[in-house]
């Protein structure tokens, strides 16, 4: 392994770039959907009717306790048997989103449960409806409380998107595999892609902390959290 052997890898930069774009797209879309759905599930599992609560619990437990690889195989290879055929990218997005939703639901629920009871009470004694109280009053501080945990989970989703190569989604590790099997520069290709993932993870983390401050919970003094 020397520098010149990396050249073969860098020769394939257009496919690496394509893979990078696909990885980023998979991550961003499923992160967004997963967080939104996770929030709704968290609300449902705390406030919804009993049947809904049990359903959400079962859903969350199932998807948190089975490997992601199995989930993605099931959605891609198994659902067609039930008449639902998804193309690889859609299947990957669905799998990532469903998986993330389960985790996000748990994380957000923890944040909501840590909300002082007084916040609900203050909101309802002002006459806010439960949904208004939830989205205007309870949620933003809950998000702030759990944003670090959420960030870690979203980074895990970024890394898990590598497994989408298994259903022929042309994302970053798929392209790395392609380069590896074309040029037999396995190690060089993996090192390069590993470093790209590391860079992506660091960037994504920074971006999330910015997004959190800017859009999700606003920039308010933390000490106010009682």
């Amino acid at each position: 392994m020397n520098l010149s052997s990396f050249i073969d890898v860098f020769h394939s930069w257009p496919s690496l770039l394509n893979g990078l774009v696909m990885t980023v797209m998979l991550t961003l879309i499923s992160s967004f959907l997963g967080v939104v759905l996770g929030t709704l599930c968290a609300w449902g599992s705390l406030r919804g009717p009993k049947a809904l609560r049990w359903f959400i619990r079962g859903y969350v437990e199932f998807f948190r306790n089975t490997p992601f690889l199995g989930q993605i195989f099931f959605i891609f290879f198994g659902l067609p048997a039930l008449g639902l055929r998804l193309d690889p990218v859609t299947a990957a997005l669905v799998a990532l989103t469903i998986n993330l939703t389960a985790y996000a639901c748990e994380i957000i629920r923890a944040g909501i449960e840590a909300t002082p009871a007084g916040q609900f009470e203050a909101a309802s004694s002002l006459g806010l409806k439960p949904a208004q109280a939830f989205f205007l009053v309870i949620l933003p501080p809950a998000f702030q409380r759990v944003w670090p945990a959420m960030t870690s989970q979203l980074v895990i989703i970024l890394l898990a998107s590598a497994l989408c190569s298994q259903i022929s989604v042309a994302e970053l590790s798929y392209e790395a595999n392609m380069i590896a099997s074309r040029t037999f520069r396995n190690f060089e290709a993996y090192i390069v892609v590993t470093l790209i993932y590391l860079g992506l993870a660091v960037l994504f983390r920074d971006m999330l902390s910015w997004v959190g401050r800017r859009f999700v919970y606003g920039d308010f003094a933390t000490e106010a959290q009682r």
Partner: protein, 236 residues
């Protein structure tokens, strides 16, 4: 030198597939079995050493050899220029035709008919490369192992799949009702034993063993057992 090491160690490490019937799969006892496994055992027997089978998949079988994790790879490996740069090849031990398979419809008369068709293929296999050269307009979906390639076809995610004739025959035998036929042959790509690059003594020894087995009819016997037909003429 590799051959001396093998003799000294009294074991030879051979990369074999476990996801590629009839060349390699497992029985109900989870032990590997198939054409490739028998060839490995044959070579071990002739060398007078124990055989250590290392299960591999199509994409990483060359990597195992390259990084010295195994001495040989016997996993229905076809010969290509690129591969020849990083490993050595013995003489062929088994016939193998790469082809595209699919349902009766639509008909495929030449490679141009594959344009726009979605075809699943195992990444890093010969068929992958051949499809790219012969039918550049086909929509190729690459999967990690043979199982996924086939499953993609069976579940209707792709219209066709590219694989070897023996593989398709095995599927057909398992699922007689399956609507499956050979659409077009991609190449005649007999299987070779892969040997660590630059180990001439080992390579010569393996070649000698295979030649002898061909002459004695042993190869044909294995071919009939696993592939359903004699091996016939194989390139040196």
């Amino acid at each position: 030198d590799a051959l001396d090491d093998i003799i000294a160690r009294k074991t030879i490490r051979v990369a074999v597939p476990t996801d590629y019937p009839p060349f390699g799969s497992v029985g109900a006892d989870m032990q590997p079995r198939g054409m490739d496994i028998d060839v490995a055992n044959l070579i071990g027997e002739k060398l007078g050493v124990k055989v250590e089978l290392v299960p591999v998949t199509a994409p990483n079988r060359v990597a195992y050899l390259q990084s010295g994790k195994t001495d040989l790879t016997i996993s229905s490996l076809g010969k290509t220029e690129e591969r020849a740069k990083v490993i050595d090849f013995s003489i062929a031990y088994s016939p193998f035709f790469d082809a595209v398979f699919g349902k009766k419809e639509p008909a495929v008369k030449d490679y141009a008919d594959l344009s726009g068709k979605s075809i699943s293929v195992t990444r890093g296999s010969m068929q992958d490369k051949e499809l790219e050269d012969l039918a550049p307009k086909a929509v190729v979906k690459r999967f990690e192992d043979n199982n996924s390639t086939i499953a993609a076809f069976m579940s209707g995610q792709v219209e066709m799949f590219a694989s070897g004739t023996p593989v398709a025959a095995a599927i057909k035998r398992r699922n007689p009702d399956l609507d499956l036929e050979l659409k077009i042959v991609l190449a005649n790509a007999p299987c070779y034993v892969g040997v660590v690059k630059g180990e001439q003594k080992l390579l010569d020894k393996v070649n000698a063993i295979i030649r002898e087995a061909k002459a004695s009819g042993e190869i044909d016997r294995l071919s009939v057992k696993w592939l359903g037909a004699p091996a016939g003429e194989l390139p040196e």
